[in-house]
Amino acid sequence: MSLPLNLSDLDDSQLEILDQRLSGGGLGAVQGPPGTGKSLLMAYEAAFAYALEIKPIVVAAYGNQTIDHVLRYTRALLSMGRMTRMEGELRSHICRVGYAPAISDDIRPFHTNRPREIMRSALIFTTLHSAWRIANRINAQRIIIDETAQARPEQVYIVLENALSLADTSDGVDLTVVGDHMQATPISSNRREVGILSRLAKSSPQRVAMLRTTYREPEPNVDMTSQIFYEGRLDAPFEVRGRRLPLPNRVSGWIGRVLDAEEPLTFVDARGPESQAGFGLSNTEQARLVEDLVKSYTVAGIDVRDPDRMMVVTPYRGQIIETRRRLEVAGLPGVKVTSITKALGLESDITVLQTVRSNLSGNIGMMGWTEILNVGTSRMRCKLIVIGNLETFAEGHVYDTRSNTQYTSRSRRVARFIESHGSVIQAPCTTP
């Protein structure tokens, strides 16, 4: 293939899958574990298809942030390949369809919902639920959909319904679905719902290719993710395995041991109780420890307000509110504190994970859901600090209200892994 695109960014497994997707027709799926470059691969597929004159191409995702991210990559690839000379020219080939306020500022210049501009574009980016705006005005030759692990069938059908011409038999369409069912499932509060990727993996595993090289987590974290969630099939290059975040200044005391840059995997055992007010579970002691950590990282010379440097995640809204409030009162607003669900697709050098649950029954709650646990423990490039009650976390019971059953989650294996490969530090107890 002689195309003006640089392939040096892709590893062997990415190249193999890209080749398969571009040469093999019909339906194919790509499972991308954390940090394996799903978005980049999607952008390559879109850019190559564009270069091969397979047009129009529709690229879709469940969420606005994700699709904007893929568009950014695609724009960069097309600019790099010099297939288009300038940004202005790019805009006549690429469009971003959807609800304007939800689109990132840097992508806004590509935004349009106008039928004529959509029809003129070779690459159309949209969320699943905004695809109706395409309204059969094109007949897509290739459709690429991200985040299909959390998409229900009918949500993907919205793209099929609108991106294919009704007049055409649409025999030629190629569809690539991308995602990771170990990181996400459809959002549902009372149904056991299964996403597209998981369905495909069960019914036609031969259609699902997996990306096996992660560029995010160092050793031993990558091994934890690989063994516990991907049956040992995930690996990281040497330079990623050895990645560390040096701290400009030294911090002493017990918290200095927590911050130790040479130890990428640390569990801070905090026994303070959880408190429940309806849906808003929280844990005051864990929020206090986050405050201490953020202060200490500031002392250590880390820009804690840079979300690329540091991120605090938790599965509970109540804890997000509690932590943000605490940091604000302490004069540290602006630190990224977010839910694990919203952290999907994000990464930072340091990730602090608050497990919140701390009880004698060993009920780990949402942290026991495989996808939440996987995402919560795999956002970091250099250091993961888990704050939680180790006993509760290691018990790892989850009560499934949908099936009225109790099961043991993978948090038990995560706890064992950290005990054997990372460090466990007892937090000084302040809560009786």
Partner: protein, 437 residues
């Protein structure tokens, strides 16, 4: 939901096609002008109230209203134009604008007739959403004119220039809306004492009567709608109005699904179609379940005490209006100590807790949380000017309730596409995507 009820009262199949089978509407360009008029009127509550209080003859009210609505029109016009251009490849905007402005003028004349006949009300409540949790009936009323001892339930008939027909869709819809107004004022749904029903159409007024027959038609249609939405029940659809088919834009889809269902019942449906029917029905029921979930907070709020709701963080009270610029798109709601329940991006309903009114019958608006601070929250409003919202919330204690955005309509439409319109190749892909649960 009042419009579904009115539709179901005329033809059960038409209702089911839209809401359960996901058959898309016809996209009639004739109703585009109505959209503009509706947008202007939904922002005109404050203007109507002020002009009414200033008094005058019918013609002077028309002139004054028309003049005062000019700036509102100027605001709505670019939004409407953009919407038209986003929807259609080619659109003669000026022609549509002329129709829209004429229709607005006609509605203003009808409204002025009513204003000249009645003393000014205490309050003009426009675009009011009310939900009666006991009957599971929810609707958005175009307006309620509220006096101390009575009210008027108002419907602006903006989608066409024709006068409403007695016993037709408009009549059924306003009776359904009137029942919601009755709930707001603490009366049984069927008690229309001191509740005047008014349809304001281009150049005129129509006062439909809530006769016992009409009320029964509405309540039986409401039961039918609820039965259809409960996935466990099967209801035979009926076309109650023999002329309904003549004007129906969904005849093809109706024929398709009626045939499929008949063949299924008689065991004559081909295996592949039977399998497709089974899988699409499964997904439809799943979508209806999701739709239910997206509405559950409203029921929780309507049926529980404030203290309990606060404790469970379904709703948070203690908010009051903060200073807001009238031209802004968002408003500040102050709360001592800030919010304990909300995060940026949350979809919320802002409820003005009116004394003596049920929570879900009180003044309320939709919005989304943009900023959370120690002071309170800043909420972006959806389709309402801040000044109008402030007018209605002024002096009331305010509660914020979490809501969810219901996106299921597009999902049902996609299923209709797969079952009814997709090519065999696309259907094959769709079936492969369905895979195994």
């Amino acid at each position: 939901m009042s419009s579904w009820i009115a539709q179901a009262a005329l033809c059960g199949w038409k209702f089911r096609l839209g809401l359960i089978f996901g058959v898309p509407g016809g996209g009639n360009r004739g109703s585009l002008a109505g959209f503009f008029v509706h947008q202007v009127l939904s922002r005109a509550g404050e203007t109507i109230e002020r002009v009414w209080h200033s008094g005058g003859t019918e013609s002077s009210i028309v002139d004054q209203l028309a003049g005062e609505l000019n700036p509102v029109q100027a605001l709505v016009l670019p939004e409407w134009r953009k919407d038209l251009e986003d929807r259609y490849e080619s659109v003669d905007f000026d022609a549509h604008r002329i129709v829209a402005e004429m229709r607005l003028r006609g509605i203003v004349e009808g409204l002025a007739q009513y204003m000249a006949r009645r003393e000014p009300p205490r309050k003009v409540l426009n675009e009011l959403q009310i939900m009666d949790p006991h009957t599971h009936h929810e609707g958005r009323l175009d307006a309620i004119f509220e006096w101390d001892d009575r009210c008027a339930t108002v419907d602006f008939k903006t989608y066409s220039d024709e006068a409403p027909r007695s016993h037709g869709y408009d009549h059924l819809q306003i009776v359904a809306n009137g029942m919601l107004a009755n709930y707001r004022y603490g009366r049984p749904g069927t008690d229309f004492t001191n509740n005047e029903l008014v349809i304001i159409y281009t150049g005129g007024l129509y006062f439909p009567r809530p006769t016992q027959r009409m009320v029964e038609r509405v309540t039986s249609a409401r039961d039918y709608v609820l039965g259809c939405l409960q996935s466990s029940q099967s209801h035979e659809a009926q076309t109650l109005n023999r002329y309904a088919c003549q004007f129906c834009e969904k005849q093809d889809a109706c024929g398709f699904y009626r045939t499929i269902e008949r063949l299924h019942r008689t065991g004559q449906l081909a295996d592949a179609d039977e399998e497709l029917r089974r899988s699409t029905w499964r997904r439809r029921y799943a979508i209806l379940d999701y739709r239910q979930i997206s509405h559950k907070n409203k029921f929780t709020v309507a049926l529980n005490q404030l203290r309990l709701l606060e404790q469970y963080k379904v709703l948070e009270t203690g908010y009051s209006l903060g200073p807001s610029s009238p031209n802004a798109n968002s408003m500040l709601l102050i709360r001592r100590g800030g919010s304990n329940a909300f995060l940026e991006g949350d979809a919320v309903r802002i409820i003005g807790l009116e004394p003596g009114r049920p929570i879900m019958g009180s003044i309320n608006f939709n919005g989304s949380v943009e900023v959370v601070s120690q002071q309170g929250v800043e909420v972006g409003l959806t389709g309402r000017p801040v000044s109008d919202v402030c007018r209605l919330l002024n002096g009331l204690p305010i509660a914020l309730m979490r809501t969810e955005v219901d996106l299921t309509k597009r999902e049902l439409q996609a299923l209709d596409y797969i079952q009814r319109r997709a090519s065999p190749t696309v259907r094959e892909i769709a079936e492969a995507l369905l895979g195994e649960e």
